[in-house]
Amino acid sequence: MTDVSLIIGGPQGGGIESAGQVVIRALVAKGFNVIGTREYHSNIMGAHSYFHLRFTDKPARALRLPVELVVALDAESALTHVWDVSGKGFFVYDADSKDQDAGRIASMELSLKKRLKETLGPKGGATVGNAVRLVEERGATPIGLPLKALLKKVSDETASPLAAIAKTINVMGLAAGLYLLGIEYNYIAKGIELQFGGRPKVLKPNLVAAKVAVDYVEANYGKQRALPDGPHKGRRRMLASGNDIVAMGKVVGGLTFQTFYPITPSSDEAFYVEENMYVDVNGSKASIVVLQAEDELAAVNMILGAAAAGARASTSTSGPGFSLMNEAISMAVMAEIPIVISLWMRAGPSTGIATRQGQQDLLHAIFAGHGDTPKIVVASGDHREAFYDAIKTLNWAEEFQTPVIHLLDKYLAATITVLDEWELDVSKLEIKRGKREEAPGNDYKRYEITEDGISPMAPLGKVPMLVSSLEHDEYGMVTEDPVDREEMVMKRLRKWRTIANSIPEEEKLVLHGDPDARVTLISFGSTKQAILSAMEDLAASGIDVNFLQFRILSPFPAETASKILERSEKIIGVEANFQDQLSFLLRAHTGIYVPYRVRKVNARPLYDSEVVHAVEKIVKEGAREVVVSSGA
């Protein structure tokens, strides 16, 4: 069975992004499942960035550390990932960078320099050469590529000036690395073709570069044994990031109006919607208005207007932008306007680390907006869920005339996964628009008091009508009367209960694994796959855990959760925040206290390997709180 992880690192803006894409395509071509994410600085060019990937015959769920291969395209990468390669792995680096010293790498974080000095100081200094010695001592195989010489060769073979083909070092690195792992040149070439196919001027030198690198490795380290092909060879598959998949869900799900204000890690979602804003469906064009707003206040208020005028509307943001949307969310509750906000969480508070992982916005999302404002909050656990949730959230918003927050995060946003056609089946999915009133009469009451709290909603432009952020009567007319007020509060409360009762429990939470396991992990959002992956390893080492994944955090599935958790002896909360926000919520709704906590706060994704270690620490060593800290 194949299950291999790798890291390929280099300077941002230097081609590392496409290198990752090539690797993924090569591995998919060979028939594997792949998952790959990109770690990068909030910087346009020059800071360290890397792809972290895993490929396997099985479902590729989560990232793992250490990895079997590190490809370091520059000195900073070699030094940064010195701790990440496993004892049996390969460490590919630029042989010409041996003398480079961490102290003189401008872009490197000071604190990392210090750690390198501590680690490599005893070896004589924080140089790449000493890093390589360390890696080797630990059992890994260093592979020093003479990049300059190889580049010269590519230049000669393609008759191109060096400067024109400088970026092919990315492909040389990855080709060497993949070859060492047993991926044949033809798959690597396939990956390169898929990535650069449209640009022959780029394609050609990269193919040459890959060949040069593979030949070099073969010449110096011997012919490598090829890995058996993966099980999915030849299949038509899709490669999509979390951002992509949510955009796809929205487009497929009938979105007609999307606003955004640029913010990492949400912008690429809006961007992909924008790329697809004019969709050709069997010859007829369906258009989506995608508008860049002047700020997030405008972004959310525009969709309030659009939705009131009948559009199926959403916006997309991250923490700082979401904070700015609070007032409008409160208006959406009051005026009962259906909107969806995709909230791509990142490391906070405040601007925090814009391009890094965090799960810190759960409670803020639930309590966003002043004044008793319950709303639907859904957290997707992975790409497949995110796709369906993107459609469901649009449905729920319109069915219940309420704001819906779709919680996602940077890890999902930047992670590319491989999907099969059947995984995105939409044939059974319905578009629901709720009690939409297309032909309101003259006495139309926008806020008609109903049993279920939901009033038929006519879009603006049919008949005179009132939509109001002030307390109102059934017609939407402002009122301060205490009886009117109480009636409307109670109507909104009934609506909330309708929402809670209408959404099936199985949408709200999922128990993964053995229902009789004595240990239960609870979590929400993108930690899902790391936990599922860890469960397999834990089972192998005799620890039987199950995993209660909370998908809908509001309305909270209190009863079902209680029933499930009652059977558990040890409940462990796994969250990427320090307030243990899910555990807080669980206790608030059920009284159940979560005595064991696994926290990740270093703004890196959760790795399955960390979950394994943390659970072992808790179950075997009796630890109560474990902070896990992997990741570069």
Binding site: F257, A298, G305, A313, S427, V463, P464, S469
Partner: protein, 306 residues
């Protein structure tokens, strides 16, 4: 059907103080709508929060009472979702030029075809008379404990800088003239702003009716005044005079249409260029009944056959 002004009046009690300039503006709006014979079902009035913004309850139309400062983005969403609707924003100087100032600027840039009526009384009426963004510096109106130490902004100049293609100033109690300005603004294709000088007898005890009557005059008194700009070249020629007039606000305060640009495209027109068919099947009216198609069909750039 030819409508009368009364057809635009709702039954709601109009909650303004006696003598408030808002009555004048409301009446002018009724009359402008009637003369244009706009179908109330296809008319959307969008208000922020303030005395003025309450107009939404008094005009028979589709109306949204939004939140303070956000009427313009909400209205923009309405218009872009259903461009066949006539959209009019009614709001105060505080709402539109203070807290909403950023959106006010952004609408100019976009040139969405809608009309913004600024009820400009120099104060925050509904919150009891604090200084508004158009209250001149050092004025001490009734409710202020100290004279106003913040300067004022010139709404016309701001609108011009932002890119509005129709800019006018009216006076609340000149019913006919104001009606004509609002009519012209609504008829204009593009983002139009009408700044209406509005006495607030309750809180602005300086800029009163008498104060204004002493100062105001109409640009059209100069028969050569022609604010229409049909080309970039004409803009260049006319701009100095237009801006000079916009800056006049002392002993003499000009009223009327200062600027009308007839060549600038609207955002809706640009959208139609990008996506032909947008105008006939816009976001608010496009039928959405089932999932569009399988992602493998729609997003071919993401599919790999390997």
């Amino acid at each position: 059907m030819v409508r009368k002004w009364i057809d635009y009046k709702t039954e709601a009690w109009v909650q303004w103080c006696p003598g408030c300039g808002d009555f004048g503006i409301l009446n002018a709006i009724y009359r402008a709508l009637a003369e244009l014979d706009i179908d109330p079902s296809k008319l959307v009035i969008v208000g922020g929060i303030g005395c003025s913004s309450r107009s939404v309850y008094y005009i028979k139309a589709n109306a949204i009472h939004t939140i303070h400062g956000r009427a313009i983005p909400v209205a923009s969403g309405v218009k872009l979702a259903n461009p066949e609707l006539t959209v009019v924003v009614t709001g105060g100087d505080g709402d539109l030029l203070g807290i909403g100032g950023g959106h006010f600027v952004a609408l100019g840039r976009r040139n969405i075809d809608m009309t913004v009526v600024v009820y400009d009384n120099g104060v925050y009426g509904l919150t009891k008379g604090q200084a508004g963004p158009t209250l001149p510096v050092w004025l001490k109106t009734k409710a202020l404990p100290h004279p106003n130490i913040q300067g004022s902004v010139n709404p016309l100049l701001l609108a011009f800088a932002a890119g509005y293609t129709f800019i006018a100033r009216g006076y609340a109690f000149h019913l006919n003239q104001l009606k004509d300005l609002i009519k012209a603004a609504i008829q204009h294709r593009g983002a139009a702003v009408v700044d209406v000088l509005q006495p607030c007898p309750t809180y602005n005890d300086i800029m009163t009716n008498e104060w204004y009557e002493k100062r105001i005059y109409y640009l059209s008194e100069d028969s050569s005044w022609d604010p229409v700009v049909r080309s970039p070249q004409e803009l260049k020629e006319k701009a100095p005079k237009i801006l000079e007039k916009m800056m006049e606000f002392e002993d003499r305060i000009p009223l009327g249409i200062f600027y009308q640009n007839t060549y600038m495209e609207t955002l809706e027109e640009r959208l139609e260029k990008l996506m032909p068919g947008y105008l006939s099947s816009p976001p608010g009216r496009r039928p959405v009944t089932k999932p569009l198609a399988h992602p493998f069909e729609l997003f071919k750039d993401k599919v790999v056959q390997v």
